[in-house]
């Protein structure tokens, strides 16, 4: 053992096998583990015991910021800092200020959704032990991987391997750090 071990990686050929394996790993009480799939598998969040994603909150805050910014900006620019009288209309009206504020709501809401997603996923992260593994390249092709990290307090090389084998994996290997 000269290189440090990141975790144990089990390969599955169908989404159903990976999902059953995930249910077993979840029920065994592991915490630092993950399933890697070429496409989102319907029902996998439940099989892994994941809660609803928090991305929505980031987007909500972004959207609120956008709308408030739009309204305050237009009020300050056209009614306070540089008054422009147009056809006897009020200096500030929420109706004419609505379209730009609406667009800013969407713009900052989208920034929030994408920024929140990247923040929650800790991306971009260009160096990852799994990305160095040759076999793991199939995770974007047509294979499904369950990886349990050595950092998990329940990790035990022999027992964990047995668990993943019992779930139907034909190919299990250790991944170097």
């Amino acid at each position: 053992m000269n290189a440090k071990i990141h975790g144990i990686m089990a390969e599955y050929t169908t989404p159903a096998d990976a999902m059953h394996a995930a249910e077993k790993v979840r029920d065994a009480g592991f915490r630092k583990w993950d399933v890697f799939t070429p496409f989102p598998v319907h029902g996998m969040d439940k099989a892994m015991g994941l809660k609803n994603s928090k991305v929505g909150w980031f987007s909500f805050i972004g959207g609120c910021t956008g709308y408030t910014t739009g309204m305050l900006m237009i009020w300050f620019l056209n009614a306070i800092d540089y008054k422009i009288m147009i056809g006897g209309k009020p200096m500030f009206s929420p109706f004419s200020a609505f379209p730009p504020s609406y667009e800013l709501t969407i713009l900052l809401g989208a920034f929030g959704a994408i920024g929140g997603m990247l923040f929650l996923n800790r991306l971009p992260r260009l160096h990852h032990p799994l990305l160095k593994n040759k076999r793991f390249a199939l995770a974007t092709h047509d294979r499904f991987f369950v990886v349990i990290e050595t950092a998990d307090p329940k990790f035990n090389e022999v027992e964990t391997r047995k668990l993943l084998e019992a779930a139907g994996s034909k190919r299990i290997e250790l991944v170097e750090e």
Partner: protein
């Protein structure tokens, strides 16, 4: 024994109720990666060069025309008094309308759970982005002194003045720039998992590095997919009101004014329907040949072509209804100026433009009621081009015909475009096709992971997905 369990656990669908699959020939996820990524790998096909070189030359023509126009002034165009808006604004509205189909496919059909969208959404979104780029050129240059374009944005400046936000033209600045930014981000977010596919297949160091860099270190982790899918759903939910607002605001550029023929409340929904109509025309123009040249018949199936023809028919009929309603209202309004504006369209000096629009947008798409016609790719291709010609004439009718005979007959004039107008417009096609061809050569033009996700292989509850019966 295992087969018995399968037979009892999985419900069987009667033959006549079976749906046409989204991916033909029961292709596996691996096959989808290989076929789609294969377009970006290997030798560049001859047809690609044959399309790319003329496009690049046309893009060069655009550059020359822009340089000439910017250095000389807008006088090089055919615009005159009273036709102060002409091809510049026609082309702006036309291109931005084309973009709308991409967002409709990527966002609205996603919310409506129309799974067939996965086969066409990537290419349609790319079309949106490139179309909005072409559109953006026109308002930027039609101001004449392009070096003052930054006046449009609320940037503190030494004159201590600010833009005037009660003008729909200012709303347009916000709508179009938000539309471009959000479309680009939506497209990129969708690309991330597919860039990871390209990274993992890449043979050369440069490809590995670039695809690796832009895939942001995507691993396909389910914890990531969970946040990713939520973000994608929210982006779809935000893009839907966005796309409806963009062309509504574009229509307000006209409707808020008092020009007869422009000052109507029907404009926002009518513009949005027309935009989606022309956009689907462009999607069909692009994908009917590409599915053949790139051998994508199993992913962009005849069912995809069929539903897109039906969307074209539906939106074309809405547009036709709007045209007729406009005529009715101009008569019913009792306003002599409104009545004149519409009679001038029907039998004035530009009647040929009006009837060209009517023929291409209202009558021709009605052919799509016939299943035989929807299945004939040559006819579909030709109609899709005529739809776009018709939609160009719609904007010509609205802008030029309404302006060329305004309130004072002594003002009236006949508008003709200058060669610079025509070459600038043709040049934008060069830019559009150059960008589109580069896109399809270097980026996966089909959403690989999304298409995989709609095959039976991806569903853990089917035999292909590995279901063995039991508690599921």
């Amino acid at each position: 024994m295992a087969s018995d369990a399968t037979a009892t656990a999985l419900p069987t669908v009667p033959k006549e109720l079976e749906r046409i699959p989204l991916v033909s020939n029961n292709r596996s996820p691996g096959w989808i990666s290989d076929r789609v990524a294969g377009i970006c790998e290997g030798k560049t096909p001859a047809w690609w060069w044959a399309a790319f070189i003329p496009s690049l030359i046309l893009a060069g023509v655009l550059l020359c025309m822009l340089a000439y126009q910017i250095s000389t002034g807008v006088g090089v165009w055919g615009n005159h008094h009273p036709t102060a808006w002409a091809w510049d604004i026609i082309n702006f509205v036309w291109w931005i309308g084309i973009g709308h189909a991409g967002t409709l496919i990527s966002a609205i059909l996603f919310l409506l759970r129309q799974k067939w969208r996965t086969g066409v959404n990537r290419a349609a979104e790319a079309m949106t982005i490139f179309a909005v780029m072409c559109a953006g050129i026109f308002p930027a240059i039609h101001v004449g002194r392009v070096w003052f374009d930054w006046f449009l944005f609320p940037i503190p400046n030494s004159n201590s003045i600010w833009p005037q936000f009660r003008s729909p033209l200012m709303w347009d600045v916000f709508a179009v720039s938000t539309y471009f930014t959000v479309s680009l981000l939506f497209w990129y977010v969708g690309l991330v998992p597919d860039l990871a596919v390209m990274r993992d297949r890449a043979k050369s160091k440069i490809r590995q590095f670039l695809y690796g860099l832009f895939s942001l270190g995507w691993t396909g982790s389910n914890r990531h997919w969970s946040n990713y899918e939520k973000a994608y759903l929210i982006l779809a939910g935000l893009s839907t009101p966005l796309v409806l607002s963009v062309h509504s605001i574009v229509s307000l550029d006209f409707a808020v004014s008092q020009v007869p023929g422009w000052h109507t409340t029907i404009f926002p929904p009518y513009f949005v329907a027309g935009a989606i109509f022309s956009g689907f025309g462009m999607v069909l123009t692009l994908l009917v040949p590409l599915r053949r040249w790139c051998h994508l018949e199993d992913i962009i199936t005849m069912r995809h072509i069929d539903v897109m023809c039906k969307v074209t028919l539906a939106t074309g009929s809405i547009v036709g209804y709007a045209y007729i309603m406009e005529l009715f209202i101009s008569w019913y309004s009792g306003s002599p100026f409104e009545r004149f504006a519409f009679l001038n369209r029907i039998k004035g000096p530009y009647a040929w433009g009006y009837w060209c629009m009517m023929g291409c947008n209202v009558i021709l798409p009605q052919l799509f009621w016939s299943k035989k016609i929807r299945e004939n790719l040559w006819i579909v291709f030709i109609i899709s081009i005529l739809v776009n010609i018709g939609m160009w004439f719609e904007r010509f009718v609205i802008i030029v015909i309404s302006l060329h005979r305004d309130f004072l007959p002594s003002n009236w004039a006949y508008y003709l475009p200058s060669p610079v107008d025509i070459l600038t417009y043709l040049g934008t096609f060069g830019l559009f096709f150059t960008l589109f061809l580069l896109f399809m050569r270097f980026l996966p033009m089909i959403a690989i992971s999304e298409v995989k996700g709609v095959t039976p292989h991806a569903d853990p509850h089917t035999v292909e997905g590995g279901a063995k019966g039991g508690h599921h």
